[in-house]
Symmetry: C2
Subunit: 316 residues, 2 copies
């Protein structure tokens, strides 16, 4: 889990570093495709190694099971489109703040789809996590531009909520897939990322089609403007994805949501030192809220409260 | 407790209403004196009625006990001076934000002086309450003037912390006094407010002395510029004080601190409707945080978490 924190931490920093004068010299749409290719290659290699070992891994090969692994890619495709649509109605900072809703929608789908029960205290913790991350993102005195959060069109908010639901659905469904059976993690990854590569390739082709093939086919443009930092972004995005798979199989979506939020806060703190971003009161408050949320969710109950001592043996 | 909420709610609203063009036409220093006088009269009247009744109230009349009731007035005197001194180093909004520290210092002194134990979860709740109220007060995008919270002189922060400690000490000591014995609440109030009137009168005389008696004695100026609203401010301040006494005897400082915070948030919400103040995201976030804090502190444990069922009878 610590590795996921590091990877998520690097994501924000590397993406900022890879910009030149605030612009991307490379085609940003190529990044997810190459990341999926990297994840697929990585998983294929380790699956092959597992097959060479003395105890071959479990692999469910029926098409009936394999076809389920395209569902996350489909959901992400719809989600990306909803994301673009939302950004036509709201500005990026409003979109970022609405993005915190996916913490709550993940908790809700966690309960509804995966049937994992949360205590009332844990529900409060999940809400607090969303509130804490939002607090750290509140635009402070003097931050420009000063767009109002509450004056976007109604459709913008609806699409934002839909985006949060789709994000959560993708995560929860992936966890369902990974935990469905005892197949090798790498075999499950291979299925997942094969569909990921196919869908991303389709997306690049569609982008060419929409541009009327003016810029030539995507595979010719693929590495245009790539620097060392760009490759690090690809590598980092791929690594983050691999770690998420591992979390989905051996941990759960709530742990992932906490890790992502903590990494986001850490990134903001590091930005104060690395990129001279101004430290704000709301960042400090957000950190305190999220740390308390973390303890509320994960701390054993007997460390939180005084438990009643000698309950009768025959109590229900 | 609900009456305290109403009274505290009215305080902010009435004080704003009593201003004319943002200024006070009356001498604000006369308000606390008249409020103490009101509280003393009120308590004396009801004490007299209690003495007339068939079961006379308990009254501890030894000077050794009575003299303790001047301690809160002394602490408030020092606190007011520290408050003035702090405001020479920091601006009013920074002072308001530091004021939330008294929630935490109250909790600490509650534990140290009154020996009331808080579970870890309740400590988190107290911290969250302070964080929640602070969040609601964060200056948003476009709020002028844009003073930095972090650029005040070091002494300003030290004095702010001292102010929070003194506030907490006064509250905790008052609760200690009120719960020390089973004396009539009104008898305790009479002692408390007699010293309050004396100290406030002394403060007004001192104010005259410092001004070189240029404006004439305070009792001549006492009601200058008083309108109906000003009298409502006096009445409201007095009522709030009386309700705090009741809370100190029959409830505790933590309940008072929660009530004050909730009233403050409600005031801000009402200000959106009454005074056209802009609704902000941080106000909404602050309300959510404080409501969760309230539940964390006061909800019975079995409603918060799943308690383990059949513990052995002989467990320690």
């Amino acid at each position: 889990m610590q590795w996921y924190l590091v990877a998520a931490l690097l994501t924000g920093i590397l993406t900022t570093l890879s910009q030149s004068n605030g612009k991307y010299k490379y085609d940003y749409a190529t990044i997810p495709f190459l990341a999926e290719l990297f994840k697929l290659s990585f998983s294929s290699f380790f699956l092959w190694k597992e097959c060479q070992s003395s105890s071959p891994p479990r692999m469910t090969k029926e098409w009936r099971s394999i076809r389920l692994y395209l569902v996350p890619s489909v959901i992400y495709l719809i989600h990306n489109n909803v994301q673009f649509a939302t950004l036509t109605y709201v500005d990026p900072s409003t979109y970022q703040i609405m993005g915190n809703l996916k913490i709550v929608t993940t908790g809700i789908l966690f309960r509804l789809v995966l049937k994992r029960k949360l205590s009332n205290l844990q529900w409060m913790a999940v809400v607090l996590l969303a509130v804490g991350t939002t607090t750290s993102q509140v635009k402070g005195c003097g931050d420009a531009p000063c767009d109002s959060l509450f004056s976007a069109p109604f459709q913008g908010y609806m699409l934002g909520i839909l985006s949060a639901c789709l994000s959560a659905l993708a995560g929860v469904y992936t966890e369902y897939l990974m935990k469905k059976n005892n197949d090798s993690l790498y075999w499950q990854n291979v299925q997942l990322y094969t569909f990921g590569v196919i869908f991303n390739m389709g997306w690049l082709i569609y982008g060419d089609f929409k541009a009327g093939f003016e810029r030539g086919p995507w595979w010719q443009r693929l590495f245009n403007g790539y620097s060392i930092t760009t490759w690090m972004v690809v590598f980092n995005l791929g690594s983050t994805g691999l770690l998420v798979s591992w979390l989905m199989k051996y941990s759960d979506n709530i742990v992932k949501v906490y890790s992502t939020s903590m990494a986001m806060l850490l990134t903001m703190v590091l930005s104060v030192y690395l990129f001279n971003v101004r430290a704000t009161l709301q960042l400090f408050l957000g950190i305190v809220i999220c740390i308390i949320s973390l303890q509320m969710y994960f701390m054993p109950v007997n460390m939180l409260v005084e438990l009643p001592q000698a309950l009768p043996v025959t109590s229900k």
